[in-house]
Symmetry: C2
Subunit: 262 residues, 2 copies
């Protein structure tokens, strides 16, 4: 089979927008952009020099690849409607870490997953060439096609099974969602004291960059918990007496750090 030269996007959210723009800039033709909301489809379609539609039936019939970037819970429904209209021979992928590629099995002959491991916001620039892409497919042929496609926009492309990708997604929740919640709790703590949150930013950056640049997290854990410094821990817990959410998180994480290092 030849290279993928044209795509249709199903979805117009953060991931669809970043992938669509990267693929378009890499020279792919974008045949159509579908969104339930025609204004969203139009906004992205204009950028990608593409038709924009709000009915599955209006999606282009002859794209080399149909890229589904919608909420995890909507993938199955979109799949059924796509195969009803376009048949089972089109090449379909989704971009979800959690959803198995097998979700396509009953409806398509050629399918896979094209998962970019990054947090995307429409308005924020991402260095896509650094984003790891994890590829799953139902045949070696499709694997290779998707690998080649991802390699046109990223320097980090790997094959990965559904079950491993799921593990990676769970890990991503810890380093992204939960880490941001740590930032959020600290924002609240300093906010209550009218201390400028900006003071914490160099520490936020250094904590991440240290690991980004090669330190191993489990080997560089610091703080009162790993020192088993009860004076400091108790003093922190006293301080958090009026912030029950932060206090509970402090207690559970401290307990876990102590357990892990026994």
């Amino acid at each position: 089979m030849g290279k993928i030269k044209s795509i249709s996007l199903i979805g117009s959210g953060n991931v669809a927008t970043h992938l669509g723009i990267a693929l378009f800039e890499a020279g792919l033709k974008v045949d159509s952009v579908y969104s339930r909301n025609i204004d969203h489809a139009k906004l992205l379609g204009k950028i990608l020099n593409s038709r924009f539609v709000d009915k599955i039936a209006d999606i282009s019939y002859d794209s080399d690849l149909y890229l589904i970037s919608v909420n995890d819970n909507a993938v199955k429904d979109i799949t059924k409607r796509l195969s009803d209209i376009l048949g089972y021979n089109i090449l379909v992928v989704h971009t979800s870490g959690m959803v198995s590629s097998e979700i396509f099995k009953a409806d398509f002959n050629n399918y896979g997953v094209f998962y970019p491991l990054q947090t995307f916001r429409k308005k924020r620039k991402i260095d896509i060439v650094e984003v790891p892409f994890l590829i799953t497919a139902n045949s070696t042929d499709i694997e290779n096609k998707l690998y080649e496609l991802a390699s046109r926009i990223s320097n980090s492309v790997n094959f990965m099974s559904d079950s491993k990708r799921k593990a990676l997604h769970v890990a991503a929740v810890f380093v992204n969602n939960f880490t941001n919640f740590m930032y959020s709790l600290s924002e609240e703590i300093v906010g209550k004291e009218k201390i400028d949150f900006d003071l914490l930013k160099p520490l936020i950056k250094e904590t991440a960059m240290k690991v980004y640049e090669g330190e191993i997290p489990s080997q560089i854990q610091t703080g009162p918990a790993i020192r088993n410094d009860h004076n400091t821990i108790n003093s922190h817990l006293d301080y958090l007496e009026n912030n029950q959410v932060a206090k509970e998180i402090y207690e559970v994480i401290t307990k876990s750090i102590v357990e892990k290092t026994k």
Copy 2:
């Protein structure tokens, strides 16, 4: 009173090393470096062109500032021994976020806190000019002297009361120690599956840089918890069934994110 021109360092750990080098490079004379461990004192003393000692009684008598960078629990003991030998008129500061400046009250006339809000490791370069310094002192005169000193090495110097600095330190535990533990749990999760931890690094960087560059954490929380996406949450918890520490943390943080956004 004039500018601080000479210092003695009490301690030779990560903070003492980074501050000592920065102050030395800014032109300060380092009269003596004290450590219980003479080899540690020697290592740092050589770099700072300074005498190195392992007895408090051997510390220089005429430094403009005595900078105590030791474990929080050791500050009080060092304080007593210093004042016994050098009297109560020397200028003394510690570098701890948690320890009150009042710890010096009974023993010294001139004292304060010189707190750099950053995580330091001896072998890792830090852009000291970006590090926030929080200054506390027992008089305006001393405040100004310490402010002037910090300004020679950093662009971010602020006065802050003992109680606010303590709040800031608690917040720092969340963005540094607890965040690193999130990284550590993810390292363990992917390690069990023999997935390369490096795949998570661009996400670690972007999660931090987004906030570093101005996004507000509480406004950009993403993930299954804030969407109240029970399918994904339950699927993640099932996956973590054999990792009780990660599972408990997942549950508590998820519950808190849901509560915070009700």
